[in-house]
């Protein structure tokens, strides 16, 4: 069975994660409950005429995938697999509003076309003329991990030698207002927004696009090997530790083999114990890291974490800004990522040097 290597990364996020080394310019924003991406210079990647017609998520997906491919030094891939929670939600909003506001008349198709969930993956394929396998996963917090699991299967089964895999989501104004109403986003005017010592429910929201080139061979650009991904829909708080132990065991690993644990803390006090218990008990002697204070919560935020973990293994450095505890290790070779949302859609991802 072929192994899967992360050979290139590209990340557009609410931090400057392009044209930088590794989060050295990152800032924690305590003032906003919805964070916006730091936009790249789109015209370096997309013609201005094409760019004007494109949804935000499509543009960011195209740039992030171009960065990843350049990083991996590849010009084409065999397959493109995308994860997105809500797709190009701005276009969904736009089309729906024009239906409702104009009583189903005077509509144009552009925003309907872009609202389709697989638009990002399709547009990347169109640009690259990639006629291979092209899947899009849309399952909340495991959208990216579903794509990653599929990509790994593609490589293992030798259906593809190289796969472009990514997670992308964008903020839409009306949708974020609805999320504040439903409690998914923390209410306005409750600054400062802190993640680790939050006593309120809801999350600080964000958006972003992170893409990766996965290949079946180790090469000069290799960041890490993807060992395993597990997705579990429903787990109780007290089942997490056992689940992690059995996941590690199936990969012949123990907790002591994990050099860093990346957790999806999002400041939602209602579900924080899923993470807190691990930090305080089973992984008390392990460096524990977090990231949603930098990139915000969104369905594919865990793709940002995957980018971060790959960077740590390559640079052997952990920026202070992402540390939950003070534990350090001499080397960072094996990293476990765990994420969930509202006690559902749990994912466990293992990467190693």
């Amino acid at each position: 069975m072929k192994k899967t290597y992360i050979n290139g990364v590209g990340c557009i996020s609410t931090q400057k994660t392009f044209d930088t080394v590794f989060l050295e310019e990152a800032i924690v924003n305590h003032d906003e409950n919805v964070l916006a991406i730091v936009p790249p210079v789109y015209k370096d990647y997309i013609s201005p005429a094409a760019s004007r017609r494109m949804a935000k998520g499509v543009k960011n997906g195209i740039v992030a995938s171009a960065l990843a491919m350049k990083d991996a030094n590849v010009e084409k891939v065999d397959a493109i697999i995308t994860g997105t929670g809500l797709g190009c939600i701005e276009d969904s909003e736009k089309f729906l509003k024009s239906i409702l506001d104009n009583n189903e008349e005077f509509l144009t198709p552009t925003s309907f076309i872009q609202s389709t969930h697989n638009t990002v993956g399709a547009q990347i394929a169109l640009l690259q003329q990639c006629k291979g396998y092209n899947f899009t996963y849309v399952n909340g917090a495991v959208s990216f991990e579903s794509a990653l699991l599929d990509a790994k299967m593609q490589i293992e089964e030798e259906e593809a030698q190289s796969v472009l895999v990514g997670g992308v989501d964008e903020n839409g104004e009306y949708t974020t207002a609805l999320f504040k109403l439903s409690g998914r986003i923390k209410p306005d005017n409750q600054q400062p927004y802190n993640l680790l010592d939050s006593d309120t429910s809801g999350a600080v929201y964000g958006e972003g696009a992170s893409f990766f080139v996965l290949e079946n061979e180790r090469k000069e650009t290799t960041y890490a090997e993807v060992l395993d991904i597990a997705i579990v829909n429903t787990l109780e708080e007290n089942e997490i530790e056992a689940e992690i132990k059995s996941f590690l065991k199936s990969n012949n690993l123990e907790i002591s083999d994990i050099d860093a644990l990346v957790l999806g803390f999002d400041g939602n006090v209602d579900f924080e114990n899923y993470y807190r218990n691990l930090t305080e008990n089973a992984f008390a002697e392990t460096p524990v890291l977090y990231y949603k204070h930098l990139c915000g919560e969104y369905d594919t935020a865990s793709a940002f974490a995957f980018w971060m973990a790959a960077k740590i293994i390559k640079t052997q450095e952990i920026p202070e800004i992402i540390k939950v505890n003070l534990v350090e290790k001499s080397v960072y070779n094996t990293i476990l990522l765990y994420n969930q949302l509202n006690g559902k859609n749990h994912s466990f991802t293992l990467i190693t040097k």
Binding site: I80, G85, L86, G87, S92, F95, L96, K97, I99, L100, N103, E104, E105, L107, T108, P109, F112, I113, S115, T116, H117, N118, T119, G121, A122, Q123, A125, L126, Q128, C130, K131, G132, Y133, N134, F135, T136, Y137, V138, N139, G140, V142, S143, S146, D150, M153, E156, E157, L178, F179, L181, S182, R184, A230, I231, V232, N233, T234, L235, K344, N345
Partner: protein, 398 residues
């Protein structure tokens, strides 16, 4: 035994609320295309749709959902079909083996979003529906109703979505990652899609006529269907009845246009070619092709060309589109057509391609227009979606 075992099926569509009802409709030419009644739309007198003639209230009662439920219509029909499939497979303890759910949808909970969009701020009792917009919510709801705790995910690649869900499920069984998986898709009708397809000018104001020279476009439909796939170990251990097998699958991208297919059907051709490679079958071994056949000018031309390319000088097998019965049910289309493909194998029939009159001028392809009884060993089913997403499944007799 080649291929992954199918041990259960469930379906609800405009031509029936069960596998049995759907089959009767298919062989007795009972079509499900009618005027829309459950959604108020200005296009009601113009378009024809394949609508499930049950109101949301009736579906809620059938599922026994509480007043505080926040099920979208898509989630309701999805749950009904998935429950049937699990029951049909004789599964009583859903988490007994490593069991997953791979679902497909394109609209998700859009029907609720479009209904309440501007009312959420005024009516706190509606706020619960905000969370059901999410495409993944349908699968979450189904998993919860089934009590399934393992891997749950959703594929959304427009009109090929369910084919891709079936494909992923088959791969998860083949690679031993799962013992059992429920695969399929659901899409309810929504104003959003009705108007979307309307602006693209591919809706017919008449009954859809796939592969006809004078075809004018598609009728939208709604449906849900799920199949249970199980490993050979479980089949053997529990002495399960295998309905048919998923023997081939392929996905490719046309990489031509976001909403139109290339003229010579590159994506479709590549998807079929891959499916043949996976199955080890030759094109001549296919007894029936359940074509995508949406009856849009573009799809049928592109698909027909791709089929001609696959068969070259060989005879193209009997083929038909079942969309004149059901309408185009988008992300559920490949799932309901998978059920129809299995039924074709079980009953040795080719369904009629209704409404066909004149052969297309571009090629000499004439669909089967009447019910035909013959031995069916292998069925090929195509499904193509926006974004150039092309998928082919092959089903074989067990």
């Amino acid at each position: 035994m080649e291929g992954v075992a199918i041990t259960g099926m469930g379906i609800i569509s405009s031509i029936g609320n069960s596998v049995g009802e759907n089959y009767i409709s298919l062989i007795e030419n009972k079509i499900g295309i009618s005027r829309i009644t459950n959604i108020s739309t200005v296009h009601a007198d113009v378009i024809k749709v394949g609508e499930i003639k049950k109101t949301n209230e009736e579906l809620i009662a059938e599922l026994g959902l509480g007043n505080d439920n926040n099920f979208s219509r898509t989630a309701m029909i999805g749950t009904l079909a998935a429950k049937q499939a699990v029951e049909n497979a004789g599964i009583t303890s859903i988490n007994e083996f490593r069991t997953g759910l791979i679902s497909a949808t394109s609209v998700g909970g859009m029907d609720m979003t479009e209904r309440h969009y501007y009312d959420y701020f005024k009516h706190p009792e509606l706020v619960k529906y905000i969370a059901c917009h999410d495409g993944g919510d349908v699968a979450e709801k189904i998993a919860e109703e089934l009590g399934l705790k393992g891997i749950v995910t959703t594929i959304s690649t427009a009109c090929s979505s369910a084919a891709n869900a079936i494909m992923l499920g088959a791969r998860l069984i083949k690679t031993g990652k799962l013992d059992r998986v429920i695969v399929g898709g659901a899409d309810g009708l929504a104003k959003f899609t009705i108007n979307g397809f309307k602006t693209l000018m591919i809706l017919s104001d008449d009954f859809n006529k796939p592969f006809d020279n004078e075809r004018k476009g598609l009728n939208l439909g709604e449906a849900a269907a799920y199949l249970v796939l199980e490993s050979d170990e479980i089949v053997e251990k529990q002495n399960k009845k295998v309905l048919a097998r998923v023997s081939g699958y392929g996905n490719a991208n046309d990489a031509f246009h976001q909403t139109a297919s290339s003229e010579n059907g590159d994506g479709a051709y590549l998807a079929m070619k891959k499916a043949f490679e996976v199955s080890g079958l030759k094109p001549s071994q296919i007894d029936y092709i359940n074509v995508h056949g949406t009856a849009t000018p573009n799809n049928d031309l592109s698909e027909g060309r791709a089929i001609k390319r696959i068969y070259q000088d060989e005879k193209v097998p009997d083929f038909s589109s079942t969309k004149p019965f059901t309408g185009h049910t988008l992300a559920a289309a490949a799932a309901i057509e998978a059920v129809y493909s299995v039924l074709a194998i079980q009953n040795n029939v080719v369904y009629p391609n209704l409404n066909f009159e004149n052969q297309m001028e571009e090629f000499d392809l004439t669909p089967q227009t009447t019910l035909k009884n013959k031995n069916i060993e292998h069925v090929l089913s195509n499904s193509f979606g926006f974004g150039g997403n092309c998928s082919t499944l092959i089903f074989s007799k067990s």
